[in-house]
Structures are given as structure tokens and as C-alpha cells.
């Protein structure tokens, strides 16, 4: 069953066509990889799906519901969460505070109840704290909970970014280059983590990556973008043999 459906998605920035007539479907509980050279429109695509940009045309259907043009926080509340390419954390907060803040949607009590610390709020606060620690322990960040996010090593910062997304308990996670700047062991660990999240938390995941090897090892299905267009689609093995892909992908990489 399809969780996310994208139909005829178009985005123009003035004269520049960032995404043109894109169609794809993400099946439930799969990992979809999106690759493409720099400037292929991958991050723009995420921004369109999560409501940061309003598409020029086309439709985004999530869980059977049209979410085109909704605001980012509404889309998040429906269970669609993204991570960011440049490490994006609440840098001046501790690791634990980061995850506590990410439980915003998990809290049921209203703002006023929270302000006055009404009885129901206190129990909820304990539950939130417990759950946040579970997530951190599960990802191996438990020992770092009192460190400021900005003082974490790069690899751990990326994992914390995942933890924030997981705290929302989304149905679909969009990961934007989760392995940039990581060495090989860190990359392998991250790949295993992503698979584990999919299996244990029954999540659907879309990964945008630069690195062919990573995306091949991770995804069940791959979409190749170039200049905002889908130039190939299929299981990893098929895609690597595709002529257009080799030309577009390797061609530009040599040119860089």
C-alpha cells in the first residue's frame, strides 16, 4: 500500500525549473532511495513535500490525504517528518532537552495546562522524559544526555537528528543526506540504524544520498533525479545498469 504519492510535482523559482513533473510512490514500510548529482532538486523535493515551499503544480498525497500546500507543522502532525542535510539541532540545548522539545506533538495537555503545571501535566511530563531517555538509550546517546548538542561529535549530531525525528513517532521519515561527513564505520553504523528503525518502529523511510554505495546497500527501491527530472527508477541493481543514470551521475561527478 502506498503511503506517499507524488503526482506531477512542479516547482519553478523564477525562470529556474527546480522540479519538473515528478511522479513517484513510496510503499509502506520500505526504504526508498533518491539519488542524483548536486543541484538535482533533491532537497527542493523535500521542501515541497514538507510544506516549506508551495509547489507550482502537482499533488502530494500522504496516507490517502492531500497535503499539498499545508504548513510544515500541520504536515508533521500527520506523521511526516524530515531531517536536515546541514546538521540542524537546537545547538544551545542539551541532548535531552532537544529530544524533550521534539515531543511537542506527543504532549496532549494544552499550553495553559503546561504553564500552570496542572495535575495531568505532571504525569505526562514524566512519561515524556521516560520516552525521551528510551529513544536516546536505544540510539546509544544516553550517556551524552547532559551535553550541549553543539559539543557532540559530528556523527552523534546526525544520530541526534534522527532521534528528534523519531520522537515525533512519524509514519514516514525523510532523511536528507544522513551520512554526509561520516567515516566508513560511522556510515555503516548509520545504515544499520536506519534499517533497525524501519524494522523495529515499523516506519517508512525515504533517504536522499549522494553516495551510490550507501544508497545501494540501504534502499529497496531507487529513484534517480537529474535537473529536477526523474531519469530512472527501479530496484538498485537495475538502476546501476541504466545508461542514462551512468551518464548523468558519473558524468557530472567527473566534471566537478
Amino acid at each position: 500500500m502506498a503511503l506517499l504519492e507524488v503526482y506531477g510535482l512542479i516547482k519553478h523559482f523564477g525562470g529556474l525549473i527546480a522540479v519538473s513533473d515528478l511522479d513517484f510512490v513510496v510503499e509502506k514500510r520500505t526504504i526508498l532511495g533518491i539519488i542524483g548529482p548536486n543541484g538535482a532538486g533533491k532537497t527542493t523535493l523535500y521542501n515541497l513535500i514538507t510544506g516549506v515551499f508551495r509547489p507550482t503544480g502537482g499533488k502530494v498525497i500522504f496516507n490517502g490525504e492531500d497535503i499539498t500546500g499545508l504548513s510544515t507543522h500541520r504536515i508533521a502532525s500527520k506523521g511526516l517528518v524530515r531531517t536536515f542535510q546541514t546538521t540542524n539541532l537546537f545547538h544551545e540545548m542539551t541532548v535531552l532537552q532537544n529530544v524533550l522539545l521534539a515531543h511537542h506533538l506527543f504532549r496532549k495537555s494544552g499550553d495553559i495546562a503546561q504553564f500552570f503545571a496542572m495535575p495531568g501535566f505532571q504525569g505526562e511530563d514524566r512519561r515524556v522524559k521516560k520516552r525521551a531517555m528510551e529513544i536516546l538509550d536505544n540510539l546509544g546517546l544516553g550517556a551524552h544526555k547532559d551535553k550541549l548538542a553543539k559539543n557532540l561529535p559530528h556523527g552523534n549530531q546526525k544520530v541526534l537528528g534522527m532521534a528528534l525525528a523519531m520522537a515525533v513517532s512519524p509514519k514516514l521519515m525523510l532523511l536528507d543526506e544522513p551520512m554526509t561527513g561520516m567515516d566508513e564505520t560511522e556510515t555503516t553504523a548509520m545504515m544499520n540504524l536506519i534499517k533497525r528503525v524501519r524494522d523495529e518502529m515499523r516506519m517508512t523511510i525515504v533517504v536522499v544520498e549522494h553516495d551510490m554505495k550507501v544508497i545501494m546497500g540501504l534502499s529497496e527501491h531507487i529513484i534517480v533525479l537529474n535537473f529536477g527530472k526523474k531519469i530512472a527508477e527501479g530496484p538498485p541493481r537495475e538502476v546501476t545498469r541504466n545508461r542514462a543514470v551512468i551518464e548523468a551521475y558519473l558524468g557530472t561527478e567527473e566534471g566537478e
Binding site: 504548513s71 510544515t72 524533550l100
Partner: protein, 356 residues
Amino acid sequence: MKKSRLYPIIILAAIYLVGIPILFRHNNYVLHVFILCSQLSIVALTVRLVYTTGELTFGQVAFVMFGAYGSGILAMKAGFSFWLALPGAGILTGLFASLIGFPVLRLKGTYFAMLSLVLAEVMRHAVRSWDFVGGVRGLYDIPRPDAIQIGTLALIPRFTPRDRLPYYYLIAFLLVITMVVFWRLDRSPLGRIFRGIRQSDALAASLGVNVMKYKIIAYGIGAFFAGLVGSFSAHYMTVFYPESFSVWDSIYYVLYAFIGGISYLWGPIVGCFGLLWLWEFLHPVAQFQMVIFAGVVIVVILFLPNGALSVERFLPSWWTGLSRILRKRSKKLAAQVGAMPDSSDRKAEGKSDGSA
């Protein structure tokens, strides 16, 4: 950012509400300066509240003005008692800020700062040409707060021009309330959301935080308290005119907050009391008053760029030791009273240890 605690608020509030009136109750000059300090501190605190969401506002004077005019109109044209006009003006100002917040808060950073400044000036010019509220001459003969009695028991005494003590109590009480509200905001999940928006609004939105809503909440609460100050000052001075609310006031509010240390809950109060009293102490050296005042401001900015309160980093160890003892005491006390949640993780652990 360190979490601030409730006990300093309680101790200093007690000193401020009891100690100072005992010492200075017949000295109208000292009381007047303290009244100014309280008023300006509240507004500087609202600057800080808006700043926790990441925006620097140079337009708080607009809300003080709105509160003053709102209260003046309510009391003089609609015949409200001061005790209704005061909260009424605050609520009106808060609502007004929430309304203009929708378009205004779409801007960020420098653009927001500039717009907030311009907006304050535009509003001042608007009331200048509005005859209903006195135009350029403003409002005068604003009634003083009325006494409230039950039978012969005076709940609230008469406010007279000669005795400033009732005014002192009233605004000091408002300052304490403001402080407690902002303290609670700081440590409730709301405060964490505000800080999160400042550090990365894109990330907060992607985690489901309605960024606009929380910015408006901060802006509106800030305006509410600024409006209260406006109302108080209208009935304290009994006269005001559009020129009473110039852009200079807004700049000073920001200055107080930054000199004290805008990342500290106490920063705006420290900055405001410090600078105002410095100004008063410099009266004897009249011609150098402004020079020395500016010199102190520059020295603080140079050596303590994070505000006067950032000296805490350089304090000797005996001080930190002492404050740790105090903190433990207060924690014990808090545990007995039935503490607020979110105040510390360790406390919850300690409790469960005790029961097991």
C-alpha cells in the same frame, strides 16, 4: 542557559515589598526612582521574552502607549474604575499585539527590528492627529486609582499625589507577578519551545511546532505586561501626550535588557535598576553625568558582552559553594512543598529512591 530558580525571586520580592518601604517610606524621591525602575524593568523583561523566540523588538514603547491610551479612554471616556481599566488595558494591548503579530512576525531578524521601530513611530504620529484622545496635547487629569472599602475597612487606600507609597506597592507587586510568570514560562515546555524557535525555527516547525502561534503568544504576553505598565504610568503621572512615548524609550528598554544580560531571567531587572540608579547617583557631577553613564555602558559591553550578570563566570569559588548550599536547601524545601515538575531530573530520582 542555566535554569533560574524561584527562591531568589521570593527573597528579593520580600526585600523589595517589605524592606525598602520600611527604609524609605517618607522619601518620595527614592520611592519615585524605584517606581520608575519597576515600570521600566517590566517592559525590559517583555523585550527579553520576545527575544527568547529570537526577535529583537524596538517597538515595546508602542504597547506601553497603547496601554496608557487604552486605560485613559476606559477610565475617562467610559467611566471605568482604575482597577478595571488596568487589566482591561493590558488585555486590549495583548489582543492588539496578537492581531498585528500575524503580519509583523512574518519578518525576522533585522527586518523585524526595523518594522517594530517604525510601527511604534507610526502609532505615535497617528495618535497625534486623533482629537478624541487629545491630539498633540494628549490626555490630562487622568483619575488616580480609587480607594476600595468594605464598610470602614479600607482594602485599598486612597492614592494621593503627596504619598507615593501606594504607587510603589502597586507597581512593585506587578513586577513580582511579571517575574513569577516569566520564571514559570522559562522553565515550562513553552519556554523550551520559545528557545527552540530562536535556535532553529525550521527544525521546530518540522517537529510539529506551530512557530507563528508561539511567536504570537510570546509577543502577546509581552504586550500585555507592557500595556499594564502603560496603564499604571498614565494613572501615576495623571498626564501624558504622544511625545511621552518616543523611540528613545524603546532603545532604553533594549539597553537595560542587554546590559543586565538578556540570556538571564534577572538580566533586564539588573540592567534597569543598575543604570537608573547609576544615573541618579551621577546627579552631583551634572556636566559629566552623561559621559560617565555612557562610559559605564561601554565598559560593560566591552568586558561583559553577555551582560553584567555574566560575571557569574568569574566569581570566586566560595560564592559558588555558598550558592550550591542554598540551592540544596531550596530543593529540600521544594520537595516538601510538592515541587513543580520539569524543575530537575535529579529530584524525581531522589524521590523514587526514598520510596523504594
